[in-house]
Symmetry: C2
Subunit: 361 residues, 2 copies
């Protein structure tokens, strides 16, 4: 898929509009925070840097879908941009609490907010003091971003019924995401049985709902599209979201770490319950993989051995076939003769799906 | 202060109304949560039990103040009850994240949500798995309660301007509370210098704002009271809130643990930076107190010794005098000839202040 220069220009404009909205939202809060001292304002400064350094996947999806469904009415479009920006704050709130829960200090090769606070804290009286201070910052900043997201939805300059509809979407999204996060942690801690069905459900809930379903449904609702259109977009988004998530798992295990920036064997060392592992567990190779799975001190050579086993036992291929199934369902929804997805929105989704192919990070 | 039987009757009615509202809010969410499996729904069940077992201090303050300021208009009163209930959810969200941050498993002598999850988890593959699972539940349930609070404010059946006013109050409250929590942790972790002024600011931000200022301002706004009335109520609430918080510190250190249900020396063992300690640090007794302060393994005899020193050096008396100052300012605001507080609201606040005297827990 090639991107026409027209698409590139409008995407640059959209990025600027989203960036301006986020800069405003964050700047206002950073100013308000300075009244409570430098440590508090610093949370907003760090979060702002991270949020504004993002790729705006979710707000762009919302706005491109919105623009494709609705021409005109510039007033409502401003509100759409504020909702799109709020969804980026929600994304970052989830990332932060996920990082606290996972004990992560790095994201995409750079210190996350917690890692930055830890590095700045230096030596403190108690040995665990700096980490405690940094993780507290992660919890509290996540709370602030969750609050800021709700404030943007609650204040949206819309008819009351439409605002209630968006609030319903937000509530549903948070339910699913939190349920997915809990399932993910339950799988990791050995509370939840790692069945394939559960793992796939977790993938959908934890990331796909807020990354794809929420922006697509919000775009449709804001553009006044029929509910059948909204439903078709959301279903397509769910398939695409699951495909993305499964590909993330493949990249983490089989991808090139110089490109995705993560520890190449962290999923194996952490014992992360992925669809890859669920399939491997059903094969005779599992007896050879299991002793290494979840070993924090796994060596590079051992990890390479496990990775080869995961390919040889068919787990890599199995997950690739799951991705293909999701993409077939996605394409069918968009291109079948009775598709409810209008052509403009179809192009937005196909463009996004194009980014999935040949993805390295 | 005696409570007339009329007051008792209306308070019982109010408690029932608040309880019904909370039961509805929590029940609806517990039902929705069951779609995501038993572990997720269980979070709501546990939280519901804890919320409904509370004393409803904040919602009662809001409703009694509201009723004193406004007679009639039953429709707005229903909205006031929903805001009052939402403030109780906010309180519990703060408690949960505070418990995660402090590593607490017990509140008022009973397992908190985290303690319950830990006890139920039993043996898990990794030694720290159960605690990780339980604390994750605390973070996620805090997020859900924070979201539920915002949803109630955002959906309030009010004129748009008034809803925005309440959303402003919520935003301001969350800012101050989170700033207070961060200051408290910074004091404990040795990031923030433990000066008396900072400690008093922290006390006000962390608890008084959401416990007193938010319910009082919300009541005034919902009842359509003048801004001068709202400001006077909020100022009185701040004084009362600080007095309550300082008395909490006195009770924790000098009170009877059979009544307040806490470890009687936990503040000393944790090295909690209170106004008591800030004053002691400025006296010649500090050299004798410091070696014991913040010792996790502090013995009962050592703790009794420190406690006696804190009395003898004048720290106990100093904090009592701070409480008296706050109560004098509070009483002056309520009873001076040019007081902006209407008689009905004054009685509500005096009644609440009466509970401060002779308080044991």
């Amino acid at each position: 898929m090639t991107i026409t220069s027209g698409t590139v220009r409008s995407r640059t404009d959209l990025c600027t509009a989203i960036e301006n909205e986020l800069t405003g939202l964050i700047g206002k809060r950073t100013s308000a925070a300075t009244a409570y001292g430098p440590d508090f304002a610093h949370l907003w400064t760090l979060a702002g840097k991270n949020v504004l350094g993002g790729k705006f996947v979710r707000p762009l999806l919302l706005m491109e879908t919105y623009d494709s469904l609705q021409q005109g009415n510039p007033r409502q479009r401003e509100t759409a941009i504020s909702i799109a920006a709020a969804i980026e704050l929600l994304h970052y709130a989830f990332l932060l609490h996920d990082d606290v829960i996972d004990g992560d200090l790095v994201r995409r090769g750079h210190p996350n907010l917690i890692g930055s606070l830890l590095a700045e804290a230096g030596e403190l009286p108690r040995p665990d003091g700096a980490l405690h201070w940094a993780q507290t910052g992660g919890i509290l900043m996540g709370d602030m971003l969750l609050a800021a997201t709700h404030q943007a939805f609650a204040r949206a300059d819309l008819q009351h019924q439409l605002r209630l509809r968006l609030l319903d979407l937000l509530e549903h999204t948070i339910n699913e995401t939190v349920a997915g996060e809990q399932l993910d942690v339950g799988l990791g801690d050995g509370i939840v049985t790692p069945e394939l069905e559960t793992i796939l459900m977790m993938c959908g809930y934890k990331t796909a709902t807020y990354t794809f379903e929420l922006p697509l449904r919000a775009a449709a609702a804001l553009a006044g599209a029929d509910f059948a259109v909204e439903t078709a977009l959301a279903t397509a988004g769910k398939h695409l979201g699951l495909a993305f998530q499964l590909q993330d798992d493949l990249l983490s295990t089989f991808g090139d770490p110089r490109r995705h920036g993560k520890d190449p064997f962290s999923d194996l060392r952490e014992g992360k319950q992925t669809a890859i592992i669920a399939h491997a567990r059903s094969t005779s190779s599992w007896a050879d993989i299991e002793p290494f799975f979840g070993l924090p001190e796994l060596s590079g050579a051992e990890a390479h051995h496990v990775r080869r086993q995961l390919t040889d036992c068919g787990a890599e291929g199995f997950v690739q076939s799951l991705i293909s199934e999701q993409m077939e369902a996605f394409n069918h929804l968009l291109t079948s003769p009775d598709s409810q997805v209008p052509p403009g929105a179809r192009n937005v989704l196909l463009d996004l799906a194009g980014q999935l192919e040949g993805r390295q990070s």
